[in-house]
Symmetry: C2
Subunit: 300 residues, 2 copies
């Protein structure tokens, strides 16, 4: 069992009411990998510049993430800068420098191609579809997307939907993609285009799952202190897909629901510190304990 | 077992993207009464003007709501006008005419005073405290409040907190009352002032419960069509408190959680039509069926 993840590896500069970090480790593939790494083997596909700090590579290697698909090319690593205010619900982007990520052409090492699961983080849908073509019939294909691609390449995002099992997007993207302001209608419409399961992330309000049978609701883990929400969505996806991969990629309501709880738990740890600082400190037992707590907080 | 509710009885003019209604039946005590009436005997305390339509009184009487505490006085009934746009999350108030409600002095009929439960809807905290003084040791005291009273009478709202068992407020009010932007901190701080249970309503995102032991999360019932959210919070409170009263006002986590589910179910029916139009059409079996559906949508 292993998951291939394709996405960004970045250096993030983030400011929240609780502090700031300059050029800390970030990126969708990074957060996803680290979270999924608690459950299964992860093979990362991405690109960084020659300036990418060795300590970040060491951290990912220590987590046993396969980095043979991480290209290191001349130039600068992707950089993002943003800030959060008030209740930390929305990032204000202060700067995006794609750098080497602008010409990223994902190329899978041979040994990646037979992985049984792939997560396509929010890169250009044409690149996502290109990655799928390189894979040898993975059992579970999941993807994310973002407002930019929905704005400029909606037909390709819909084509992606036809080819995947699970779509994981946030509430604003779901509304934009479906042209429905009501989220329940939005989820059902997107599901009708192909994905067996659609997961809509609502930040501090949790997630909605659209399955073949029902709509399922998972609240976020209630936290007294949210430090930095950067990467929460990708960390959630990592816990969610990592758990499904660990369980033979089976897609039934019970397993998918449990997987959503694990994703929620991973995301809740992530937001307690900047970057991967909190995730670095937790063990599987911490995850399982918080999973049980979340169950207690949501059961009669 | 019976619940006394003190609050507004109003004529609402509401416009949503789905239509409009002029001077339809509304008010916190109205919505609360009708919802609680599915579970227990309700005794209403309020005031209307001589212009209040007989058909509205007939509707409440048909639901066996005791109206002997509803004063009918010379003048006009309280009128509210508002509109909702987009995802219907927030009402835009177009007009508030307190009329006879401005000088409302709640006076409990003798037979009300020994009721075992009272719900103090969002009127002036001094009036709420005055109602409590008229009651003979009710077993369960619950209250709501609103931004206006928190702004101009916060010490009295805190005094109210000291004298009640359950506080039911929305997220914005909880932040304002506690001076905490984080809702979990807000709920815990308010609970420390007195109420054994604090319920924070988050509209379409459900509710949070702060109990002596834990924080509990209930999502809203997922609906494809939300028609008019007016009165959802009071309908929720009616289902919630009505169910607790029916169960001997016992306050333990299991019963309170079940009661929150019933409140959520009642609110979900309420928003499907204007005014009380949907609530008028449902039976206890509809409530129990949706309760079971909500359980399925929130259990692994």
């Amino acid at each position: 069992m292993s998951v291939v993840v394709v996405g960004s590896v970045a250096l993030d500069s983030v400011e929240t009411p609780f502090g700031k970090r300059d050029e800390s480790l970030g990126g969708s593939a990074t957060y996803f990998s680290y979270a999924a790494g608690f459950f299964t083997d992860v093979k990362l596909v991405g690109v960084v510049g020659e300036d990418f700090p060795q300590k970040h590579l060491d951290l990912l290697k220590k987590k046993k993430i396969d980095l043979s698909g991480l290209q290191v090319v001349p130039g600068q690593t992707f950089r993002w800068a943003g800030s959060y205010e008030g209740s930390l619900n929305e990032a204000k982007t202060l700067g995006t420098h794609l750098n080497v990520f602008e010409t990223f052409a994902p190329s899978l090492p041979e040994k990646y191609k037979s992985a049984d699961c792939v997560f396509l983080a929010n890169i250009d849908p044409d690149l996502q579809l290109g990655v799928l073509r390189q894979m040898k019939r993975p059992k579970l294909v999941a993807a994310d997307t973002m407002n930019l691609w929905i704005s400029i390449k909606k037909p390709r995002v819909k084509e992606l939907c036809r080819q995947i099992d699970v779509l994981v997007i946030n509430d604003g993207e779901a509304r934009q993609l479906s042209d429905c302001s009501n989220l329940i209608q939005a989820g059902r419409r997107i599901r009708s285009w192909g994905p067996k399961y659609v997961v809509i992330k609502k930040g501090e309000h949790g997630v909605l799952l659209f399955s073949p049978k029902d709509v399922f609701c998972v609240p976020a883990f209630p936290l007294e202190e949210v430090f930095d929400p950067t990467g929460a969505g990708d960390t959630f996806a990592g816990g969610f897909i990592g758990y499904l991969n660990k369980n033979n990629n089976k897609l039934n309501d019970t397993l998918v629901r449990k997987a959503l709880y694990y994703g929620t738990v991973l995301a809740s740890f992530n937001v307690e510190k900047f970057s991967l600082e909190r995730l670095k400190t937790i063990k599987s037992s911490d995850i399982n304990n918080r999973f049980k707590k979340l169950l207690r907080k949501t059961s009669i």
